[in-house]
Symmetry: none
């Protein structure tokens, strides 16, 4: 393969299921972000049907404006998967049966106790002009082709397989073909301040750095502030200066940098303080526990969680007093505080979080409408509470609650 | 406007934030589904930057293969919003200031207590050749243009505004221009069988229905099978016949139809059988609990869950015997069974699920490598177990485990 730099990239997703909206094309966004972080400019995203003519015509038109087209999908073994044949045809490459690939696939299927079928052989027929990139989490490897002035990289459409290959062989490849301009990017993660307020708070700093682009990405109860710049010679030192100014100004609102989740920040704090935590969830239904345990190594500091959906479970497991539930209801400062104390006692954790609320869409009353949510956080000696009035939909309410609760615990740990 | 039928449509999303993955283009999927349900064939989705050249060149190339391009984004009042000007230029339409639109906007802003700014006037400058479609939930109306043989429909990028306009004026318009062919679509949701095996199992049926398209959409431990067809006269009866044949053949593997999650199927089964459930999770860390509680109304049948991450919690809360943990380890048939019994006893649930495994990336041993996962499911009288050997990454292991465990419980409830 030629050794030129990749400055511009596009994505091409292949699949009827994407066209008709049965599957949302999250791959384009993920690849866009992945390329952008490496200083590669994104030209376009396209999505076409599993049809030879559509694929060929898209590639022919796209290759004129970029150095790399990342093609996802259509690599399976079923009749609708034609990407490999179409690409082989375009680059005029004969197909061969790859014995090594077949042996690896057989071993993988045996381990997964999946019966080997004739159709699996199709997965191992490869274009000889393709450089194969290994895929240990699926059957189809990545395939890199050179076509005219452009690289064509064909990847499986299954997101975790696509990511596995791009983060593996892809990372090395992009490093080797790094764009010939400088690029800087940093993301500051903030919680507890809105998008508009955030912008006003840093307006004077922004004006001092006209050569930098600022983007605000609001999500559930947090805003990511992305700063980026292309190509200036004194960029690095100016970027450092800018980052420092922003971090100073935003101080307590900042919970991290880059792509990390707030649970990673909390994990690091807990490890540093040699503390352990636990959660008691009602409305969030396991979401906080799930977010914490997504982080590898969380078993060191996360002891466990109770999803106390039924009141009986709040009483029997978390030892919430029946009188508390009768007098104040499940969604109350009193109940959520007892839930927190209950889970701390049960697990022996140092700190914890408890949630109880009405996530919706039904279950609201006049005094406690949908979106009324109580959070308790703290330790056995010091419990704090916070009342939220949200009015989003069920899943959004829970995502908001989880992030706000985790941010409250983060600040508690920092005191 | 001319009164021809719309048989083929494409979407064009405009915005840097979509290109670099700051925002996922969910609009394309939603519009794709909306069109598909009306029998309109989707040709392609594209996404380009906020740049005149990119927009013009995309439209010029797309219009050749479809009757309608739905363009989203770039209609705001900030500097990077140029869609309206570019389209006016393409169709050679002068711009005028729309007083009615401005009066409506002023009234709306006053109601929302948003101060009126000069920038708002830009939103009311309209191309005279556009047919305006009202937007009561935002500032920018939809604009319909005729350009050569194609309709161009420009909509705001904010998803709920786009949907509001398409479901309002758009619905009437599409009815008036309905395609001149019939359309059928159904999705069968399967679990416990791979993509390749699924296809072989129904190969003879597929061959009897050459006029139908079959697509396989694999995800974590489940495969969605989509059947669709255009335009035959006896399509409806043949579609029913085909669906029946497939459901009979796939029998136990089918957990639902359409878009539902397996937790919805389980919820319905539990309601029908007047049973309640609970979960005890180690490796899945709250994921199963979270997936169950995502379903509105799940509090009727879901009592609660224990995330027993630490062995101490397995002992103290779930009453797993210390000797069991010592002798067999946390990842064992014995431990996971005691976890299940523990949570059933604690919550009083009729049925339940328990998981314990090594999700990775570390923590594996020679006899129990990463990906070794035990699942227990059943009732107080009847516990079953299943051992998985996965070797994906942490999050993928857990997603797989959750789906497999839920499917095992589904089958148990069906016995």
């Amino acid at each position: 393969m030629q050794d030129n730099s990749i400055s511009k990239a596009s994505t091409l997703a292949i699949g009827d299921e994407l066209l008709i909206g049965q599957v949302i094309n999250t791959n384009a966004a993920w690849i866009g972000d992945y390329m952008q972080q490496r200083g590669i400019q994104l030209v376009e995203h396209r999505c076409v049907a599993d049809a030879q003519e559509a694929i060929v015509s898209a590639i022919e038109s796209m290759r004129r404006s970029c150095d790399l087209i990342v093609i996802t999908g259509g690599l399976g073994s079923t009749k609708d998967d034609i990407t490999k044949e179409v690409l082989a045809n375009m680059v005029q490459s004969p197909l061969y049966f790859d014995d090594t690939l077949y042996a690896a696939l057989c071993a993988r299927l045996e381990k997964l106790k999946i019966p080997l079928l004739d159709a699996h052989r199709k997965l191992c027929t490869m274009p000889s002009k393709a450089e194969l990139w290994s895929n240990d989490v699926g059957a189809a490897p990545g395939m890199l082709f050179r076509y005219r002035d452009c690289f064509l990289l064909s990847l499986p459409g299954v997101p975790y397989e696509m990511k596995y290959i791009l983060e593996g062989a892809g990372s090395e490849f992009l490093q080797k073909h790094a764009p010939d301009h400088d690029f800087f990017q940093e993301t500051i993660l903030t919680s507890g301040i809105g998008e508009v307020a955030l912008q006003s708070k840093i307006q004077d700093i922004i004006e001092k750095f006209p050569d930098f682009a600022f983007a605000y990405l609001p999500s559930f109860a947090h805003v990511r502030l992305r700063i980026s710049a292309y190509g200036q010679s004194d960029m690095k030192s100016r970027a450092e200066q800018l980052t420092k100014l922003l971090l100073d100004r935003l101080a307590d609102y900042v919970y991290g940098m880059g792509q990390q989740h707030i649970t990673e920040t909390i994990g690091k704090l807990l490890l540093r303080q040699s503390k352990q935590m636990a959660v008691a969830e009602s409305c969030t239904g396991g979401l906080i526990s799930h977010q914490i345990t997504k982080i590898p190594g969380s078993s060191t500091y996360f002891l466990g969680g109770i999803t106390a959906y039924a009141n009986e479970v709040k009483k029997s497991i978390l030892q919430v007093h029946p009188l508390t539930l009768d007098r104040y209801g499940a969604v109350s400062r009193e109940t959520v505080t007892e839930m927190l104390l209950g889970v701390l006692k049960l697990t022996g954790a140092d700190v914890g979080i408890a949630t109880s609320g009405i996530a919706g869409p039904t279950g609201g009353t006049e005094s406690k409408p949908v979106g009324t949510i109580w959070i308790a956080y703290g330790s056995a000696d010091d419990q704090r509470t916070k009342l939220l009035h949200l009015h989003h939909r069920r899943q959004i309410n829970n995502e908001f609650t989880a992030h706000i609760a985790l941010n409250l615990l983060r600040r508690f740990l920092l005191e």
